[in-house]
């Protein structure tokens, strides 16, 4: 059970720790800087923090015994002479890391392997704890990659990476927008996954096209990897065949719109969401901040409100800002308005740690 949270925010990285049964802020790093996401590598205890300095670009830092050190950030290869490609706005697409949007450790059998998803869509792999990075060219060079579009940002980006706990060479990534992609040879070749999802925001002939899907977040059950959950731009989808096919979960109140999803580490039918009024408004319904939980694979949902503000709450919870610890009991989430809540009973009740942080991008148990 984890007693530590790393909170990535628009203005720094905050460490939150459990002391005498209470959660409190115990550390600040990179104060004033934009921290997009962190990773705690449970194989060796190292922490990684991705920064976006705006003017000075995207940087990556790794924890040391005494603090942090800057390490290599993923770098796109040189664009071939005479080659040009354009984004969905008809602007030349700069092959340059615009944001680090996903950081995940490789399998337990491959210490030092880190996967990194970026905007504008490059996937990178390190085999030396982030000291150097190699772009996964087979995905970047896949002809269908150019059909990816902006979703969560102007540029397409890889936001979810799932490494198969049974076989580290099998990896799923999700793209906003571009659907789900799968490799079973550590990135040497890729295939689209995600039949059965449905996109409301595209012309009818593309509605069921797996590449048109705006997956907001993809989560895989560690103990039952066949089970994958998707929080999608216009719904919740669940797969029982490793993401080959998905079924839509309908009739969820108050909404199936949201960004994050987490799945219990051992119970594949149990997952949590933070719903909002879809799509153009993106605020909690009636100003009431809620979490929803299913324990039966989406047949029914509990609406969890105890300890959460139920009046004039306009918190939005981004796709990386809901976390579940490895034991499966503790949850935490952070919001765009700087609120942070923790639950120690699977969401039945929540305690507010603070509501004065900067806008929160990512919450992860360390």
């Amino acid at each position: 059970m984890s007693d530590t949270l790393l909170i990535s925010s628009r203005k720094g990285l905050f460490t939150v720790s459990r002391k005498a049964g209470q959660w409190e802020i115990t550390g600040t790093d990179f104060l004033g800087d934009n921290v997009s996401i962190t990773l705690t590598d449970r194989r060796d205890g190292r922490h990684y923090a991705a920064l976006d300095h705006g003017h000075f670009g995207v940087k990556l830092h790794r924890s040391t015994a005494t603090g942090w050190e800057e390490i290599a950030a993923p770098t796109y290869p040189p664009k071939p002479d005479g080659y040009e490609e354009y984004d969905m706005w008809s602007r030349p697409l700069n092959w340059s890391t615009a944001r680090i949007w996903a950081l995940e450790a490789g399998g337990s059998d491959e210490p030092g392997v880190i996967w990194c998803g970026t905007l504008p869509g490059g996937l990178f792999r390190s085999t030396d704890h982030g000291q150097s990075w190699e772009m996964i060219r087979a995905l970047w060079d896949h002809p269908k990659r150019k059909q990816w579009m902006g979703g969560g940002a102007d540029l397409p980006g890889i936001h979810s990476i799932c490494v198969d706990p049974r076989n580290s060479r099998r990896v799923w990534v999700a793209v906003s927008t571009g659907g789900i992609w799968f490799t079973e040879d550590a990135g040497a070749s890729w295939a689209q996954r995600g039949e059965g999802m449905r996109a409301e925001h595209v012309p009818p002939e593309l509605t069921r096209d797996p590449i048109a899907q705006d997956v907001h977040c993809l989560a895989q059950c560690p103990a039952a990897p066949y089970r994958m959950w998707v929080q999608h731009h216009n719904g919740i989808f669940v797969s029982s065949d490793e993401g080959k096919t998905f079924s839509e979960i309908n009739g969820v109140e108050p909404s199936t719109f949201g960004f994050p999803v987490v799945v219990h580490p051992r119970e594949p039918d149990t997952a949590w969401f933070v719903p909002e009024i879809k799509d153009e408004k993106r605020i909690p319904l009636d100003g009431k901040l809620i979490v929803t939980r299913t324990r039966d694979s989406g047949k029914s949902f509990d609406v969890l409100t105890k300890g959460l503000p139920q009046s004039h709450a306009y918190d939005v919870v981004y796709r990386h800002a809901l976390a579940l610890d490895e034991a499966g009991d503790r949850l935490a989430f952070g919001s765009t308005t700087g609120g942070l809540w923790v639950s120690e009973d699977q969401g039945d009740s929540w305690a507010c740690v603070t509501h004065t942080l900067p806008p929160i991008y990512s919450v992860r148990f360390a």
Partner: protein, 89 residues
Amino acid sequence: MARIVFTANIQRHVACPEAEAAGRTVREVLENVFAEIPQARGYVLDDQAALRRHMAIFVDGQIIRDRARLTDAVSETSRIYVIQALSGG
């Protein structure tokens, strides 16, 4: 040799003291600086070695025009300023 000055805001990430460096173009001068301070490269240039979107370079009071290849001319007496554009927010 040209004189090159970096924005004060870069200094907390990478120490880039005011320096003299040889070169006939902005690219050549910068490459000579980066040879001494390799970590500064990624703070000024993007992955394609173009000037980062929200950075600006002035040579003798004129903003450079070739942000991709950095071919703007530099003289022996030029003063080069590597600064942040306000567009970065």
